[in-house]
């Protein structure tokens, strides 16, 4: 009882944090039909700066830390990324009116990672003075890439399989020249993920943090601007979520259910595995929260184009709608406070 009321009060307090309140503000002004626009070039540079900063933090941290600590969380990240796709394959895909390729693409997007959601989590951890490994942000690609690769590979195997079985597709096969060769190539998908703007920026930051001396610009520029820029990005996420809601109406309602439930399920799985690493190798509770949040998050920048190219027959209204309109606000607005609260409760014991 006391626990719940504490939890609720904490929740409201966290909604008032700059990060979450700008997200809500964005939804509200979009709902009100505001003409306010954050130009696309600004959104791009904000994403660049946030992920470069996360990369720099990680790179500088890794320089001074025992990398073996990272092995278990990184392996769990990859595991969770792959698992999430198969969960979608065996739950969402089985639901009425949901096409298998659409479900797989959705699973891939929810398995992949949202840089902005992760940035929000890191900021809230700092505001609550909860420690986490400075390299935690570097777990991003370990979950992101396996999820996207798995989704694309499984979807193409499924399509090839279907094509072979269905005789009536035979005549069309020659049109889909690329897919005739039945082996799905993995490296191009990995490469495309790494080349995406978000991951590129993070890996660039990581490399500079590791091999160069970026401390002066880190302290004088990337770090102090972080929270402010994040508040603008949260506003954009909120506006975007609202404006995408319409698209969801055109697809099966099960996507709504999935987008609400999945972030919690994925996050809890990752939280559980994170606790294993906590007891096994001393992975911090803050780090466990980061792991849970990147699992709960769904990719908003790099994932969609990669999936659009990798599974062209999947309907983008389904997976982008599910992720942007519901998945992301749920992950930021509910999952972050939830996993934070969980970690605090466990930490207090």
């Amino acid at each position: 009882m006391d626990l719940l009321s504490n939890f609720l009060m904490d929740f409201v307090k966290q909604l008032q944090s700059p990060t979450l309140s700008f997200l809500i503000g964005g939804m509200l002004i979009a709902a009100f039909g505001s003409q306010l626009q954050i130009p696309e070039s600004i959104v791009k540079i904000i994403v660049f700066m946030l992920l470069t900063k996360i990369g720099l933090t990680g790179g500088i941290a890794i320089r001074n830390s025992n990398l073996t600590e990272m092995i278990l969380p990184a392996a769990f990240s990859a595991l969770v990324g792959i698992l999430i796709v198969f969960i979608a394959r065996f739950t969402l895909a089985k639901l009425p009116k949901v096409r298998t390729v659409d479900a797989l693409a959705t699973g891939g997007l929810f398995g992949a990672v949202s840089g902005s959601t992760m940035a929000a989590a890191l900021t809230l951890l700092e505001e609550q003075n909860i420690n986490y490994e400075a390299w935690a942000g570097a777990l991003y690609p370990f979950m992101d890439i396996p999820a996207l690769v798995t989704a694309i590979v499984v979807a193409n195997l499924y399509l090839n399989h279907k094509k072979r079985r269905e005789a009536e597709y035979a005549s069309k096969q020659e049109f889909f020249g690329e897919q005739q060769d039945n082996r799905v190539k993995i490296w191009p998908i990995v490469k495309e993920s790494l080349q995406g703007p978000a991951l590129s920026a993070m890996l660039l930051g990581l490399a500079l943090g590791l091999f160069a001396n970026p401390e002066s610009v880190y302290k004088g520029f990337y770090d102090p601007a972080f929270r402010g820029l994040l508040s603008i990005l949260m506003l954009v996420m909120g506006m975007e979520a609202w404006s995408r809601l319409g698209e969801l109406r055109k697809v099966a309602h099960w996507y709504v259910v999935y987008s609400i439930v999945a972030p919690f399920v994925h996050g809890l799985i990752a939280f559980g595995l994170g606790m294993v690493a906590h007891y096994a190798t001393g992975f911090s509770l803050g780090g466990v929260v980061v792991l849970a949040v990147i699992a709960a998050s769904s990719s908003d920048i790099s994932g969609p184009p990669t999936l659009r190219a990798g599974i062209p027959s999947a309907n983008p209204s389904a997976y982008i709608g599910a992720s942007t309109a519901i998945g992301t606000p749920i992950a930021i607005g509910f999952c972050i406070p939830f996993f934070l609260g969980l970690a605090q409760t466990l930490g207090a014991q």
């Binding site: 626009q37 954050i38 696309e40 908003d300 969609p304 184009p305 983008p316």
Partner: protein
């Protein structure tokens, strides 16, 4: 002095930019002009998840002048067969006359 030509127009999703440019180049056309556009069609799909609360332009429009209808149709067929099953798009042609061009008009001039 002017040389009759066909103007082929392809409007489709931005994600296909490089692939269509490749098809046009392979076809033997001397060049192309491309612009980002907004638009609405039966699919009304945006091909990228880029946060775009702003009025992002998400289609691309290729304009390709070809010396004859055959080349234009060859490009159109290839684009449509490869992509229009899964991506939004429209292709049309119209008549034009090229007045000046560096490479279009061949040795005998426009």
């Amino acid at each position: 002095m002017a040389k009759p030509a066909k103007k082929l127009v392809i409007v489709t999703e931005k994600i296909l930019l490089k692939k269509i440019a490749q098809i046009v180049e392979d076809s033997g056309a001397t060049g192309y002009t491309v612009v980002e556009t907004g638009g609405k069609g039966s699919r009304n799909i945006r091909s990228s998840g880029q946060p775009s609360v702003s009025d992002t332009t998400v289609n691309i429009k290729f304009e390709v002048l070809t010396p004859d209808r055959v080349m234009a149709e060859k490009i159109a067929d290839k684009v449509a067969i490869n992509f229009f099953h899964d991506y939004a798009g429209i292709i049309y042609i119209s008549d034009a006359e090229v007045l000046y061009a560096h490479s279009f008009c061949g040795p005998e001039g426009c």
